[in-house]
Structure formats: structure tokens, C-alpha cells
Amino acid sequence: MIPNFTTPDVAAPGVAASGVFVPETACSRELYLPQAARLLEVEALTARESRFKVELPRPLGHRPGQFVMLSAPGIGEAPISISCGPRDDAILEMVIRRVGTLTRFLHELEPGQWVGVRGPFGSGFDLGDFYGRDLLFVVGGLGMVPMRSLIQAVMATPDRFGKVTLISGWRTPADELFRAEVQSWSRLGEGSGRVRVIRLVDDTAKLPWDGGVGLVTEPIADLDLDPERTVAALCGPPVMYKFVILELVARGLAPSRIFVDLERRMRCGVGKCGHCQINHLYCCQDGPVFRLDRVAHLPEALP
């Protein structure tokens, strides 16, 4: 028997005279129940990654850097970053890499089919930290996905920020995500010189490539960068952080001006399952975006 879920307030258990309890539910919101979302578009970006556009029953109202728990009923659920900037409609964009059970299944779906969405979860970025500052974004690979939600927000009102620099690193040219969009940002700054984009690959793999070759750490030393005016945001694979941070600190950037977006295994997204713990912090609630000075001392934060 499946009781229909009702949503009363937290209640004291009712007790009948005989000492037999009156069954009732005990709290205000069902944490684990997804809402159904319709797939609008699936677009292959690379061999492994596709962009998913879904329509929710109501606007998500998210902040940049937040994530959702995305599921295919019967298959599984996983945390997926929101890759679009804040928006008023009920559209949600995600980019998903095919790695395992759920993600493979999602890649087989077609527009018109349905998925489940919970969220938004996590702290995300606070645009207030960025207003009036020079911004430096450093992304590696799939790190571009959550960062895009922030960059889109920035690009929506570029006048409220100072200079914007984006360094993106990819394994090969074939792995680059959002190339056209990144180029449009860079065009936006062409006149003023306020937006600079540095695109790098580890290896051109003999493919045509109009960017540079090297690691994302390399350009940092030569950047025209005023440590007092700059705020940096980082997102990439676990190995990337340590080296980028070393470079940034060498350039005089205070840890309080560096934001890192961390990834951990998550089962619930709401601070219950214990998987995403980074020392005493929960990546899903206290993060996934952290100000570096708040986690730098945590041995488990940055491997």
C-alpha cells in the first residue's frame, strides 16, 4: 500500500486512547521526490558530452554554480550542474558526460521524454562577490559547465564587472565545449579589451586548433592582473586546483578572493547521505562552491 503523501507540518504523534498511534506523516516537504521535467533538446557537443535542455513545471530560480539531482526513474540519480545562468522561464540546461549507468541512459533519451529533477541545491556563486571586480575564470574540461552559469550571468550585465579573463583547458580540440559561445564572449570584449579568452589544449591531436597548447596554469604568470581588484573562480578536475592556486597565490591573489567549485560523490544532495563530506563540511550544502580561505586549511578539500 502506498500512502498518498500529504504535507502537514511537523506534528506530535497522535495517540488514541488505547495507546495505538494514529498514523500520520511527520514533516513538511518530501526531500527525495523529484518533479517530472520534459526533455526539450538533446544536442551532442562532443563524443562524450551532450547538452540537455528540459522544461520544469515552474522556474527553478537558481543561482550560478548550483546543481540539481537529475534522475531517470528506475535507473538512478546523480548531481548535475546547472549550466545556464539564472533565468525567469522554467528552462534548465545541463551538460552531461557519458560515464556510467545513469548518464549513459540519459544520452539515449530523445526530446519529448521525461526525467526527474530535484533542486536547486548547493551554495552556488554569489554575484555580490564579483560586482565591480576584475574576474578571472579558470576551467578544466567539464568544469566549464557550472562555470558557464556564472559567466552567462556576468555577460548579461558586463558593465557591472571589471575585466573578465577566461582560461579554459581541454585535452584535445575535440573536447572543447561551447566554442561558439566562448567566441561570442571574446568578441564582446574585442573593442574594449575587457574580455580576454585563453583557450588551451594539452594536445592538438593533429586536429585544427586556433588556441594555444599547454596547461591552464601556464598563462597565469603573464596575465595582466591586479591582485587587489581581481576575483578568481576555478572549476575543473581534482588535480587542477592545487597548481592553479599555487600560481594565483604567487600572483598575490588572497585566498579570500579565490572561489573553487568542488566535486564529491553525492547520493542525496541535501546533506543526509554523508558521501560528499569534506572534513566537517558537506559539499552539497556548504558547497560545491567554496571560498578558498574557508577550505584551504582542510586537508581533504584539495588533494
Partner: protein
């Protein structure tokens, strides 16, 4: 399109295939989802190609290895069923003896002499090493246990039907022992291999008064050094410890033991 599924058996007790046939509640539902094209236990048909081949039993002779390679070439996926196919099972204990010894013990001295003298019997000597399936051909998934667990088989089939990767937990039997709230075998004054063995069996042996003998195979993370010390502390001598480790997963445990 329903996936075409085939079952093949080599040297084993066929308990795994029976376990599957015994999914009585689900057997008919299963038939709705997959096309069983070969199942010698229940069926006399054969098919040229299939999506999934389930292999039961260990590989003893070169002719068996050949047949296995041929099956592999006809199948998209290959899944081992049970400890025989996966680990060599108890019969792999015979690997630690010479072929002549094995033969003598089963057929006697006289027979051994007769067979050794007659070249027509020499192909028999190809018969001397028990191999697990993965020693012969690449394996996509392993269903563990002696016999396999029906729920795990079902989960695998479901995953194949929808095209997802089956979930294979790499946790110890102890985890399930706790979920079943069993009293630990060590508290009964006996010893157990559950801590170093793949779970998934619902700790059924411990739950019914026995211990874990490791039929589901050694976990990748098994801390054998510490476990061995534990067995020593409980009074087992080295040869008993070896017997215990080798019982079901002879071939595997032995290889692992010798790894530096």
C-alpha cells in the same frame, strides 16, 4: 528488440542454471523481456548469434577452451555464472596436484598405467588444469556465488534490457551480515572469510549457521595480510589457512597470494 540470450555450460554442477530456472516467480516475466535462444538445460535449439552469453562451469580441456572462444565470437556480451566460471571453484583445487596424481586417485594405478601407455588417451592430459573463463576469453560481467543469486541475475538482465551498466557492489559480506543482523561467526568461536569476500549473497551461509568460505571471490581491496594474521591468532596453522583461502577461489586466491 528483445535481447537474445544464451546459456552454455562447461564443467560444473549446473546449480547456477538451475537457480535461474528457479526464478519461478520471474521466469515467465523474464521470457517477456528476453529471447532465450540456447539453454541446454531446458531447450534443444541453437542460434548463430546472441546479445548475451551466460557461461557456467570451469574450463578444463583445450576443446572446451576452443568452444568457449567460439561462443565469445558469437556473442556481444559474455557473463560468467557462478564460482566455477568465475574462479575455478572447488575443482580448481586439483590444479595443485599433478595430473597423474589426480588421475590415479580417481581411476587407480592400473588405469593410469593403461592410459599412459596408450597414445589414444593422451588427449586426456590436456585435461589437467582448471581455468576460469576470464583466463581464456574477455568477460564483461561476473555473477558471483556458488550458486549465483537469483536477484543479482535478475538485476543484470534488467540492466541489459534497458542498456545500463549493472550495479556491482564491491563490499564485503560483513555488510550484509549486519543488514541481516547476524551474530558474527567469530563470536561463535569460529573463523570466517566474509571480510575479504565479495558481498551480494545476503550473507546467507552465516544467516543459516555456517560461515563464509569465500565462494564469491576475493575483494580487490582485501587486506590479506591482516586477515591471515587474524586466522593465525585464532589458531589456524598455515596449511589450514591456505586450504581455507583456496577452497572456492583456488586459482584466484593463489595468484593473489603470490603477488608481492
Amino acid at each position: 528488440m528483445k535481447p537474445k540470450v544464451a546459456f552454455f555450460d562447461f564443467a560444473g554442477c549446473e546449480g547456477c542454471q538451475l537457480t535461474i530456472l528457479d526464478c519461478e516467480d520471474l521466469f515467465l516475466d523474464l521470457l517477456e523481456r528476453v529471447d532465450i535462444v540456447e539453454f541446454r538445460e531446458a531447450l534443444s535449439e541453437t542460434a548463430p548469434r546472441f546479445d548475451v552469453a551466460f557461461i557456467e562451469g570451469s574450463i578444463h580441456r583445450e576443446e572446451d577452451a576452443e568452444r568457449l572462444r567460439e561462443i565469445r565470437s558469437r556473442s556481444t556480451l559474455l557473463v560468467t555464472l557462478g564460482a566455477c566460471a568465475g574462479l575455478g571453484n572447488v575443482q580448481a583445487r586439483s590444479n595443485f596436484l599433478s595430473p597423474a596424481t589426480n588421475f590415479r586417485r580417481v581411476y587407480g594405478e592400473e588405469e593410469l598405467n593403461r592410459v599412459q601407455a596408450d597414445p589414444e588417451f593422451w588427449p586426456l592430459w590436456a585435461h589437467t588444469r582448471v581455468r576460469s573463463v576470464k583466463e581464456v576469453v574477455p568477460v564483461d560481467y561476473e555473477l558471483r556465488g556458488c550458486p549465483v543469486v537469483a536477484e543479482e541475475f535478475l538485476h543484470l538482465v534488467k540492466s541489459l534490457v534497458v542498456g545500463t551498466v549493472p550495479h556491482v557492489p564491491t563490499v564485503a559480506v560483513c555488510v550484509e551480515c549486519k543488514m541481516q543482523e547476524n551474530e558474527c561467526v567469530f563470536d561463535r568461536g569460529e573463523t570466517c572469510l566474509g571480510q575479504i569476500t565479495y558481498g551480494g549473497c545476503k550473507a546467507v551461509c552465516i544467516g543459516h549457521g555456517y560461515r563464509c568460505d569465500g565462494c564469491r571471490g576475493l575483494l580487490p581491496q582485501a587486506n590479506l595480510e591482516a586477515h591471515r594474521q587474524l586466522l593465525r591468532d585464532k589458531g589456524l596453522d598455515e596449511s589450514r589457512i591456505l586450504e581455507r583461502y583456496r577452497l572456492f577461489g583456488s586459482a584466484e586466491a593463489w595468484g593473489r597470494e603470490r603477488r608481492p
